[in-house]
Structure formats: structure tokens, C-alpha cells
């Protein structure tokens, strides 16, 4: 037993590295309370080391720790997304006045980010319902604290509390669902659950209730409508860096976990006569329709409500709800290309969404506001920054030649391939709606003049520009050359324990 555990440790080296890093960061802060720069450097070094060690996981497709954890290309792919976004977030935090103002507790801040990172890395690989629940809770608990990190700000505490209450409720529901599944099947291993379900002996009604309950937990994590109510308040109240992190990494982890549970638990692998790369759900599980409804609701509501927002953070919160709606479409199609489309979308989303948040952060540093009305006339004061934000927003809308187009395009490819034309039409109409609110920001920046015409040009240090460029270049590059990205996602689609 101990031997297997020790042997399996070699597969979670990346996670171990991040864990070691967070310990070191915490200690370093205890020893030298002054240098927050040191903390950034330590975190970045640890994260890059983790990223490097993730590359040795390429191609590995095994189950570790007696089936608790899967080390497969799918998990590795999402771990890369998570670690990459953590790196960006740590760098963003370095440049954030809001975070740096809390000099005293800055060590805890980095500690929290890194522990979220570890939790999410375990989330994407867990293949046992209990481990899923535990990792979900771990990542949620750290997120609650992190979103209340700026303690002086009133709405930050409110955000944290709201987040906690919603989180506690949804994970409670999810746990209840898990217990029903356990009662029905006698196992917690998702592959084992699948084997029992395929035999069709489980009570149908109980199964539907259980699967919906579990979906509630996932839906909360990815902020799908109608489990999204916490999102706008938390996104608005939390520090900008944490908001950005929640909108990308946390969502990615939630999606990965949901996709794994969905595919391993509910897919009937005994059906043979399907075209390659498509699957069918186990008889009696109606989760596809539920997901379809969730996805349509999510994107439509997200987009429609975003139109009315005046605060940019809140707008981006609703926009990220809408984006989750598009991604859910990739699950609805029940095929590998739908899954790989979601994965491609996440890579693209990582760059464009973090990029948008980063620009908002830089602007907030200077003008001290996240209000869309305060963006008037910014185009003249800093062309580079505002053009970059325009590119990110255009990419979020999904217009070529940006990466966002490719993300949406792959989703629609999978829908049309599955001949789900109706839902594809709803999807594209939604992206037309989304243009309206994204373009409002662009309009304020370039088409309107600021109140104060004489305000000087805003300057930024080189380091901040480099980070911006490293988000901007992929956003444009993947829009025109997506060969490798698509190929990588297609290779990575294979999940342990499913065909």
C-alpha cells in the first residue's frame, strides 16, 4: 500500500512543487516582512517549475492512488491552463495597487493563490466522487478567503460572505447527490458508478435527482444559470486579480471536473454502432437536455444582463457567465470534438479574458475607477493600452482575426457536425448581442471625449507592457494560426477510463 502511494507520488510532482512553493512563500513572508518582490519571484519560479514538470506528464494515461486520481492527457491539459493562468495572475498581482496596499498580509495572498492552484490541479484529475467533493471544497474555501482579501473594502467582505453562503449550499446539495449515487451503486469511483449504471438496475427517478444535484455543484463552480447569483457580487467585490483568477482558472477546473464526471459516469460505452468520437448517454439519464437548457439560459441571461452594467468588473462577470454558456454547448454535443472545442476555448479564453482584466487593472491603478463612463476619451490618453483592450473585447465577442473567433468557431463546428443547427443559431445570435455591450466600452474609449480634455498621456513601465504583450500576441496569433492549438487539444481529449 505504502509502496504504491510512494510510487504514485512521482505522478503528482507538479502539484507537489506548487505545494512546496506555497509553504516557502508563507515562510519567506514570515522571515522578511518587507519584500513582496521576493514573494512574487518565489511564486513564479515555483509555478514555472511546475509547468516544466507537467511536460513530463504528456502522453501518460494512468490511474493513481487506487483510482482516486487520474493522470491523463485531459487532466494535464487543464493543469497547464491552470498553472499558466496562475502565473499571469501572480504577475498581475505584482502590478496591482489594490493588492500591494495590503502590505502586511501580502504573504497570505500569494499563499491563497497558490493553494487555489493546487486545489484546482487536483480537481481536474480526481476520479472519485469524494475526492471531487474534497478538492472542490478546498478550492472554494481558499477562494472565499481570497475574495475577501482586501479587508478594508466593504464590498470585498460582502462578496466573501455571499460566496461562502452560496458555496456552502451548493456543495451541500452536491454532497447529497453523491450520497444518493453511493446508495444506488455502492461505489464512489466514477468508473465503478458507470459500470453499475450501465446494467440499468438503478432506480430511475433517484438517478435523475442525484445527477441534477451533482450538476448543481458543478453549475455553481462554473457559474451557470441558475446557479450564478453569487458571481456578479463576488466578481465586483473581490480584488480584481482574484476576480480574473476565478473567471478563468476556477471555471476551467470546474469544467474539467464536470466533463470528466459526465463522460466517465454517464456514458454508455457498450453501444457500438456510433460514429467515431461520439457517444451516447446511459438510458434514463436526461442530463443532455438539462445541459442544453442550462447553456442556452446561461449565455442568453449573461449577455442580456451584461448590456445594463455600468461597472466594468460586473460587466466582465456577466460576460464570463455568457462565455460559460458557449462552452457548455461543447458538452451538449456528446462528442470528442465538442470536448476538444471546450478545451480550445479555455486556452483562448485564458489569454483574452485575463488580458481584458489586466488592462482594467492597469487603468484602475491610474484612474482609480472601473466605471465604464470613466473610460471616456481614454483612447487618446493611452493608445496602446486601449487598443489592446479593444482587441481583447473583440476577441471575447468572437470576431476574426482574433483567437476568440477560433474558440467559438470550434464550438460551432462541433454543433453543426452533430447537426444541432437550432442551438447553433441561438449561439451565434448571442454573440451578436454580446457585441453590443463589448463595443460600448470600445465606444467610450475611442468615440467619446473625456470630461477633462487636457488629461495627460498615461505612461506605464516596460514590465507591465511586456506582460500585456504576452497576452495580446497569443490572442492575435491563435486567431490566424491555430494548427498546434487544435492538435494539442485533440490529443488531450482522452480521459482515463473512457473510450
Amino acid at each position: 500500500m505504502l509502496d504504491t502511494i510512494l510510487n504514485n507520488l512521482s505522478h503528482i510532482v507538479p502539484e507537489l512543487i506548487v505545494t512546496a512553493t506555497l509553504c516557502v512563500v508563507l515562510l519567506a513572508h514570515l522571515i522578511s516582512r518587507k519584500s513582496s518582490q521576493l514573494l512574487t519571484i518565489l511564486s513564479i519560479a515555483g509555478l514555472f517549475a511546475a509547468l516544466y514538470s507537467l511536460t513530463s506528464n504528456f502522453g501518460i494515461n494512468i490511474s493513481a492512488f487506487s483510482g482516486m486520481l487520474s493522470i491523463d492527457p485531459f487532466a494535464t491539459f487543464f493543469k497547464i491552463v491552470i498553472v499558466l493562468s496562475t502565473i499571469v495572475i501572480v504577475l498581475m498581482s505584482r502590478f496591482s495597487d489594490e493588492v500591494n496596499a495590503e502590505q502586511k498580509t501580502i504573504g497570505e495572498y500569494y499563499f491563497l493563490i497558490l493553494s487555489m492552484c493546487v486545489a484546482m490541479m487536483f480537481m481536474v484529475g480526481s476520479s472519485n466522487l469524494i475526492l471531487m467533493y474534497l478538492t472542490l471544497e478546498l478550492s472554494s474555501l481558499t477562494s472565499y478567503i481570497a475574495s475577501g482579501f482586501t479587508r478594508k473594502a466593504k464590498d470585498s467582505s460582502e462578496a466573501s460572505l455571499k460566496y461562502l453562503l452560496y458555496g456552502a449550499f451548493s456543495s451541500g446539495v452536491m454532497l447529497y447527490g453523491i450520497s444518493i449515487i453511493y446508495g444506488l451503486t455502492g461505489t464512489l469511483d466514477i468508473a465503478g458508478v458507470n459500470q453499475v449504471l450501465v446494467q440499468g438496475s438503478a432506480n430511475n427517478l433517484a438517478l435523475i435527482i442525484a445527477s441534477i444535484f451533482i450538476l448543481v455543484g458543478f453549475g455553481y463552480k462554473i457559474s451557470a444559470v441558475p446557479f450564478h447569483f453569487w458571481t456578479p457580487d463576488v466578481y465586483e467585490g473581490a480584488p480584481l486579480t482574484i476576480t480574473a483568477y476565478l473567471s478563468v482558472a476556477s471555471k476551467a477546473a470546474g469544467f474539467a471536473m464536470m466533463m470528466r464526471a459526465f463522460k466517465v459516469m454517464f456514458i454508455d460505452s457498450s453501444v457500438m454502432n456510433l460514429p467515431a468520437g461520439t457517444w451516447t448517454l446511459i438510458n434514463g439519464i436526461h442530463i443532455q437536455n438539462a445541459l442544453m437548457i442550462f447553456s442556452v439560459l446561461t449565455m442568453t441571461l449573461g449577455n442580456l444582463v451584461a448590456i445594463w452594467q455600468k461597472n466594468l468588473k460586473r460587466l466582465l462577470a456577466y460576460s464570463s457567465i455568457a462565455q460559460a454558456g458557449y462552452m457548455l454547448l461543447g458538452l451538449v454535443v456528446l462528442s470528442n470534438d465538442g470536448f476538444s472545442a471546450v478545451m480550445i476555448y479555455f486556452v483562448v479564453y485564458l489569454f483574452m479574458n485575463l488580458g481584458a482584466f489586466y488592462v482594467v487593472l492597469l487603468i484602475a491603478n491610474k484612474i482609480g475607477s472601473e466605471n465604464i463612463d470613466d473610460y471616456k476619451g481614454l483612447g487618446r490618453r493611452n493608445p496602446f493600452l486601449t487598443v489592446a483592450l479593444a482587441v481583447f473585447l473583440v476577441s471575447l465577442t468572437g470576431l476574426p482575426p482574433t483567437a476568440g473567433f477560433i474558440g467559438k468557431w470550434m464550438i460551432f463546428i462541433s454543433l453543426i457536425n452533430a447537426k444541432m443547427v437550432g442551438i447553433a443559431v441561438i449561439g451565434v445570435l448571442n454573440s451578436v448581442i454580446s457585441l453590443y455591450y463589448y463595443i460600448r466600452i470600445i465606444r467610450n474609449m475611442f468615440l467619446r471625449d473625456g470630461v477633462d480634455q487636457t488629461t495627460p498621456v498615461i505612461e506605464y513601465p516596460l514590465a507591465q507592457k511586456i506582460l500585456l504583450l504576452s497576452l495580446l500576441v497569443p490572442t492575435l496569433y491563435f486567431g490566424l494560426f491555430f494548427n498546434e492549438l487544435v492538435q494539442f487539444a485533440q490529443i488531450s481529449v482522452s480521459i482515463f477510463g473512457s473510450k
Binding site: P400, A424, S431, L447, N483
Partner: protein, 533 residues
């Protein structure tokens, strides 16, 4: 036919020269305004020179349309190549450019209109770098649409134009520019997402043998999408006159119709035109509207011949509405620019009527009308721009008697006006006559009714001429100056084209004839063929 400069195909040069110009413009310091202007002019003039070279070398006997071997100046490189996995075929997208008789006139038109737009933008002072950079980017998008033969590439270029256009109207436009810009953007985006879905449906219905690997792959190659033999049986768009084929055609049609614009999708046009700066109106009317009809000819008709024939009458009917409705609206306008905008709706109706006829005369007439409308309407908008620059008003009733005050201006103006009316001897006559001639064979009564539009056109045009140029000059315009040499420089080339094509239309008809015939035959032949069997 092949033409290479520095080992790069001429079509690539044509398309990406403006981007090169854009980069240089962005590098020029803000203070050097004239350097920005001259650079932009240089690159657009170079584009015209290239387009002219292509025009002269263009082999008039080759048809193109659906045949890759007779596409001219073609360039084919692999762009995206996602290797296939067990469950998903490979994605192959080519950088495929080429022109035939349908696109050649459009390429020429785009080059000329872009160059004239740069000249007409000489007076722009507000964020001049941004303006010219966006204008050049727009130029690339337009040119790319007309030369690409890969649907994905086409779509990218199609969408690239949206953003520059939004900014050009929204930043440099008139008082209601924001409204006009966002309306334009939302309308066109709505059209293009429908186009996107139709494109994907086509993609999954068509497969060809990949010469490199020998496996069957889906393709975005437009020419492959036109060949019924390439359609997979049981795919979404297989068969003939199926409801899916009709739905895809209609989705595509809406995408193009918004651009043309065809009634009832036209409401963005008057707003955009009125608010846009002169140069942008010129581009909008001169080139952008042609993309809609070009898309019908290049994509919708040959890929959905059954639907095209099935919906020919409704299409012609929409053309008829455009002609009459546009003319009536124009008649009611008090704003000079809005009047021209509605006359544009009316004249594009003639294109629709002509191409809906599905015979050689109609097709040729429609295609020539696309070119002629591009030049004539560009002239009209420039003329409005000239007077607006001086008087800062466009109210038709504010003027009168300009003929005496501005004789040169009035001379150019009358040529443009009479060309728009369709006076014999000027280019508009030929194309309108051909369109009606063709349409008459297919839809007799509709054509007779549409021809009434010519009378209306003459009505509002002459009435305008009377209100603005004849009569007595109001006191306040006593110090108006006549047209200057820069303004003449942009109007004279167009005037020459309008006159030459009026006297010797063969110059352009010659280029289009083979392709128009081939397109008509191809659509007729395939309209009764079941796709994918």
C-alpha cells in the same frame, strides 16, 4: 495566367499592400500629417497600378467560376493543417486566391475607389494616423473578399472590414455617428454569423480527396463546394431542393442581403451614409455594397443552384421593391446625402433584378451595373462632399443656382447625375439596359413595373438638379468657391471611366462575358442535379 513580383503573387500584393502601408503609417510620428497622407496615397496608387496591370494581362477567354484551372493569377498555399485524429477528420484550410471575370472588375473598382477615398480624405485633421491606418486596413479587407477562393479566408476578410468601418463612421462621422456605427456593425454582424453557419454546414457536407495523403477530407475550397459530386450522401446539404438546402441558402442570402442592402434589411444604410465622412460613404457605396451581390454570384448561386432557381422570382421581386421603394424614398428626401443613399438602394435593385434573371444578358447587366454603380455613386457622394465642405449643410432646399457660381463643379455633377439617370452614352445606361433586357425574358411584368423606377430616378435626379443648381443663388452662398484641383483629381478619373464605359462598354463586358456565361450555364445545369448522389 500568372504574375509575380519578388516571387510573391500579384494578388497577395494587391491585398496586403495596404497593410504594409498601414504599418508604415502607424510608425510615422503624429506631427507629420502630410507624410501620413502621402504614404497612404502612395500605397493606394501602387494598388491601382497593380490592379491595372492585372486588368491588362487578364485573359478574357477563361471562364473561372467553378473551374480551378481557368482561375487566373491563382495562388494556393496550405495555411491551416490539423492532422486528423481517429474521431475527427483533419482540418485543412488553404490560402487560396484567384480571380475570374466576376471578381476582376471588383478588384479594379476596389483599387480605384480606395485611392480616391484617400484623396478625398485629405482634409481630415482629427487623429489622422488612426484614420488612414483604418482606411488602409479596410482596403485590405475589401480586396481580400474579392480575391479569396477559400471560404474560411473569405469569411476572415469579410469580418475584418467590420471594425475599421465601425471606427471610421463612429469617430469621424456626423452628429449621430455613434448610432449609425453601431447599427451598421450589429446588422452586418448578424448577417455574417448566419453566413458562418451556412459555411460550416457546407464544410461538413463537402469532402474531397486530399492529394497529399489520399484520405477524404472536408474542405473550405469554394470551387469544391460548387461541385455536386463532392457532396457526401446523407450529409446535411445533400440532395436537391431539400429544406436544409433552402434554409442554408436563405441564411446565406440574409447575410449577403444585409450588405447589398436588399429591402427589408436596408435600414442601416441611410444612417451609415448620412453620418459617415465623405470618403467612407464613397467606399461604402462604391465597394462594400458590391460585396453582397458579389457573394450571391460567387457563393450562393453556384453552391445552391437549385435554391437559386427556386427563389429566383422572390429575389427578382425584392429587386423590384428595391428599385421602386428606393426611388420613392429618394424622392422624399431633403438631405442631399440621404437622397444619394436611397438612390443607391434603388440602383442596387437593378443589380438584383438582373442577376435574378439567370440569363446571360441579365447576369452581364447586373455585373456591369455593380461596377458602374460603384463609380457613379462614388461620384455622387464626392459631389455632395464638395458642397458640404464649403457650405456645411446638405439641405437640398438651402441651395439654388450653383450652376453659375460653380461652373466646373456643375459640369462634373451633370455627368454624374445623367449617368445615374441612365442617359445613353454614359455607363449607367448600358448596364441598366442589359439588366432589364435579361430580366424581361424571365419576369415580364415585374420588369415592366421595375422599369418605372427609371422614370422615378429621372424624376428625383432632375428635381434635385433643379433645386440645387438652377434657379437663383441665395445671398449667403455668394462666396462659394468652385471645385479645386484636388477635388477634380478624384472626380476626373471616375468621369473618364463613366464616359468611356458609356461609349465602349466592351472594355468591361469583355472581361465579364465568359465568366457570366459560364456562371449562368453552371447554375442552370446544376439546378436539376441532386447534390451528393
Amino acid at each position: 495566367m500568372e504574375l509575380k513580383i519578388l516571387n510573391i503573387g500579384v494578388l497577395t500584393w494587391l491585398t496586403f499592400l495596404p497593410v504594409l502601408g498601414m504599418i508604415i503609417v502607424l510608425l510615422i510620428p503624429k506631427e507629420q500629417k502630410s507624410a501620413v497622407r502621402w504614404t497612404s496615397l502612395f500605397f493606394t496608387v501602387a494598388q491601382v497600378v497593380l490592379a491595372f496591370m492585372v486588368f491588362t494581362k487578364f485573359d478574357r477567354s477563361l471562364a473561372g467560376v467553378h473551374d480551378a484551372s481557368t482561375m487566373q493569377f491563382s495562388e494556393l498555399f496550405n495555411w491551416i493543417n490539423v492532422k486528423s485524429t481517429g474521431w475527427f477528420g483533419s482540418i485543412k484550410i488553404d490560402y487560396y486566391l484567384g480571380i475570374d471575370g466576376i471578381s476582376m472588375p471588383m478588384v479594379f473598382l476596389t483599387a480605384i475607389i480606395s485611392c480616391i477615398a484617400v484623396i478625398s480624405s485629405w482634409g481630415i485633421e482629427k487623429s489622422i494616423k488612426g484614420y488612414f491606418a483604418l482606411l488602409l486596413l479596410l482596403d485590405t479587407g475589401m480586396m481580400g473578399v474579392f480575391v479569396s477562393l477559400d471560404f474560411f479566408l473569405f469569411y476572415i476578410f469579410w469580418e475584418i472590414m467590420l471594425l475599421p468601418m465601425y471606427f471610421l463612421i463612429g469617430v469621424w462621422g456626423g452628429p449621430r455617428r455613434e448610432y449609425a456605427a453601431i447599427k451598421f456593425f450589429l446588422y452586418t454582424l448578424l448577417g455574417s454569423v448566419l453566413l458562418l453557419l451556412a459555411m460550416l454546414a457546407l464544410y461538413f457536407s463537402v469532402s474531397v480527396i486530399d492529394p497529399a495523403s489520399g484520405e477524404k477530407i472536408h474542405t473550405f475550397n469554394m470551387l469544391a463546394m460548387m461541385n455536386p459530386a463532392n457532396y457526401d450522401a446523407n450529409s446535411l446539404l445533400a440532395g436537391i431542393s431539400t429544406s436544409w438546402r433552402y434554409i442554408a441558402y436563405i441564411a446565406m442570402f440574409i447575410g449577403f442581403a444585409i450588405k447589398v442592402p436588399i429591402f427589408p434589411f436596408h435600414t442601416w444604410l441611410p444612417d451609415a451614409h448620412v453620418e459617415a465622412p465623405t470618403a467612407i460613404s464613397v467606399i461604402l457605396a462604391g465597394v462594400l455594397l458590391k460585396m453582397g451581390t458579389y457573394g450571391l454570384l460567387r457563393i450562393a448561386f453556384p453552391m445552391f443552384p437549385d435554391a437559386a432557381v427556386h427563389f429566383a422570382y422572390p429575389l427578382a421581386f425584392l429587386g423590384f421593391i428595391n428599385i421602386i421603394y428606393g426611388a420613392l424614398c429618394a424622392m422624399a428626401q431633403k438631405d442631399f446625402k440621404k437622397l444619394i443613399a436611397y438612390s443607391s438602394v434603388s440602383h442596387m435593385g437593378i443589380v438584383i433584378l438582373g442577376i435574378a434573371a439567370m440569363n446571360t444578358q441579365g447576369m452581364l447587366g447586373g455585373m456591369l451595373q455593380m461596377f458602374n454603380h460603384g463609380t457613379i455613386t462614388a461620384m455622387l457622394f464626392l459631389i455632395v462632399g464638395v458642397i458640404y465642405d464649403r457650405a456645411h449643410t446638405r439641405g437640398l432646399d438651402d441651395f439654388g443656382g450653383l450652376m453659375n457660381k460653380m461652373p466646373n463643379y456643375s459640369g462634373v455633377m451633370s455627368i454624374a447625375f445623367f449617368a445615374a439617370i441612365g442617359l445613353p452614352g454614359l455607363s449607367g445606361f448600358i448596364s441598366e439596359a442589359f439588366s432589364f433586357l435579361g430580366a424581361f425574358q424571365s419576369f415580364r411584368w415585374l420588369t415592366i413595373a421595375s422599369a418605372f423606377g427609371i422614370v422615378l430616378t429621372a424624376g428625383y435626379m432632375l428635381w434635385t438638379l433643379q433645386r440645387v443648381f438652377l434657379g437663383t443663388l441665395p445671398e449667403k452662398w455668394n462666396n462659394l468657391t468652385d471645385i479645386n484641383s484636388r477635388e477634380l483629381a478624384m472626380l476626373i478619373p471616375l468621369t473618364i471611366i463613366v464616359i468611356i464605359l458609356g461609349i465602349y462598354p466592351n472594355l468591361m463586358l469583355d472581361v465579364m462575358n465568359t465568366s457570366a456565361n459560364s456562371l449562368v450555364d453552371f447554375v442552370k445545369m446544376n439546378s436539376t442535379v441532386s447534390f451528393g448522389n
